[in-house]
Subunit: 195 residues, 4 copies
Amino acid sequence: MNTTKKTALFTAAKELFGEYGYVETTFKKISERAGVALGLLTHHYGNKEKLFLAAGLDVLDHFLTRLRAASENATCGRDAVMAFCRAYLDFSIDPQSHWLVLVRCSPYSDMKTKTERDIMDSKFGQVAQLLESLIEQGMDDGSLAPCDSRSLAQVIIALMVGANRTRVLTPYAAPSLYEDTLQFVEAAIQPRQEA
Amino acid sequence: MNTTKKTALFTAAKELFGEYGYVETTFKKISERAGVALGLLTHHYGNKEKLFLAAGLDVLDHFLTRLRAASENATCGRDAVMAFCRAYLDFSIDPQSHWLVLVRCSPYSDMKTKTERDIMDSKFGQVAQLLESLIEQGMDDGSLAPCDSRSLAQVIIALMVGANRTRVLTPYAAPSLYEDTLQFVEAAIQPRQEA
Amino acid sequence: MNTTKKTALFTAAKELFGEYGYVETTFKKISERAGVALGLLTHHYGNKEKLFLAAGLDVLDHFLTRLRAASENATCGRDAVMAFCRAYLDFSIDPQSHWLVLVRCSPYSDMKTKTERDIMDSKFGQVAQLLESLIEQGMDDGSLAPCDSRSLAQVIIALMVGANRTRVLTPYAAPSLYEDTLQFVEAAIQPRQEA
Amino acid sequence: MNTTKKTALFTAAKELFGEYGYVETTFKKISERAGVALGLLTHHYGNKEKLFLAAGLDVLDHFLTRLRAASENATCGRDAVMAFCRAYLDFSIDPQSHWLVLVRCSPYSDMKTKTERDIMDSKFGQVAQLLESLIEQGMDDGSLAPCDSRSLAQVIIALMVGANRTRVLTPYAAPSLYEDTLQFVEAAIQPRQEA
DNA sequence: TATGAATGAGATTTCATTCAT
DNA sequence: AATGAATGAAATCTCATTCAT
């Protein structure tokens, strides 16, 4: 197949965006790591930003697939929420997932075009919607106390975001951080019998 | 009199780092916004990275001061933790605080020198230590259930980080996000009487 | 059947050279407008310069044919000269003629090869020779005053060139420019009875 | 003076735009000919187009000054018109004038920005207005027959344009072309007593 | 004949930093 | 302390041309 070179380019780009961030990932670095001519990048992807968009969407697509798969077989809504969280954190440290693309490159700073930001936004929105629906399921089946599902989803995702950044970007994350995070979520969503 | 120009430069730098991030903040932009000669920048700060370090530390210093002030008068440890969280989130949206410097510029990507990263790290470490001590205080005074204070501190700070990023970087944050976040913390650290 | 693609390419090339000039007309643009594979261009025409030469000569050939047809049936030399001028100006604004190829691409800057410039030169020379012969005819039949036919031909053609550029390249040409130009020629070549 | 380098750059740019045209005049060529660092170009002029605009306006300003000087002392309108034409053609072959900048670079193709084209247009407009006023003066003092001054001015300028291009761009211009051109104008504007 | 992936030289532009004044 | 001209390395992007299929 002659798709090889395009694929090599794409993989190298995802690696480098994750290692160096958007700005410090250069055409030269990408083409050298992919073992491919410099010009092939614009030939296949038009420009750097479009390549980044493609990379980001690719990661997000796999992310969504993984989250859906992880949460669909849970026995109750609360378990589904916990499965979602676990899958989120697992994905974020899976070396195959190229998750760092989304961590080191901010789609909100590195993409100049509004259209492209909108595309990313809608994908991120789907992540939130998935969690919302799991929360609603939990309220339906009684495994979660009544609450504003959209609000709770945002807070839980915020926690995932922060835990992930602490782990992958800083040197001082405790080894148990992810487990602690999951327990924290569990404690917070635990329905309690009040007098 | 002559401190004026140095100060103007410093303020302009903090504004621009927060608006554009590290890479897109140029010497030209800074000197223009400050209404000051280009050469003054290296004259006063040596180079871009040192300027950024100074800006970041300045923001962090004010941050720590604010967190300490907010938490020191609480009536119990749990209240102190909540005051800490509230102060964190308030500071993050105070236009005077130049907090965005720390959000848009990652000290972990934008600072090449290990020494400088270490300086920042130690400051961030003090934030975590402060929260840890408040948690311990809570365990002492019985307002918080026994737990690993370091772990809990990291998780809570992770949540602050994520909530803040959601609010200031994305377009889809719910207006109630910060309040929801605080409630979430409250629910999670609520000591509960188990059978 | 297979001439179609070559023709489509040629037409697209003439359009684009006329619209964008030599440098800004790219292989990509041409092949896209023609709806044809990129590689066909070099396959059929060798390289960009040869394609341009072919395009320019094609336009010039039609131009010469039109000038000859327009001037051959005039009743006297002076009328033939005027018919020549009118045909020149008409051709220059005939959308079918692709005249702009010769206006926006300078054969004197855009063709590096001396041989190719010579080919173009000789064609342009034939235009001048045609006008010269019409002028001589006019001197023979008494409709034009004696003069240096080569000189007069060059001046008249210079006027055509300038009028044409004013009309097709600038935004400020008066609507009557071409008519005014013809009257100007008429006035200048009018034989006058001097005392 | 430290203006030296900026000036050297400007002169080199005018020379090269005149020799090679806009597109083939590169930053490298300019900085090398000026003996100056590459980056100085954008430092002083912002970008290539602005440099070209500055160069073109500089040439046009000198042009206008020369045309005004040449035509203001004529004894009658017709002489003023002829002095204008002679000054036009002289300027066009004065090696000091950098006239070729305007010949080889088309302000109508090479300037993308409408604003900049407008600035050039208005300068060209002043050339036409000057000639118009001379023609009107000629009609007033009786040295020229009544006519539409604007139309006549455009045609005469068109002839200057064409004669100039023939002389400086083609290899086949007769040595007497400029003299022939002036005579042609003289013949065309000669007021004649009709029966 | 037809396709379009692949190449790499070269162009414009940016920018931290230096330095003479 | 203050200025801004000057430098040149490096980045992104363009594009004619080649070539395997």
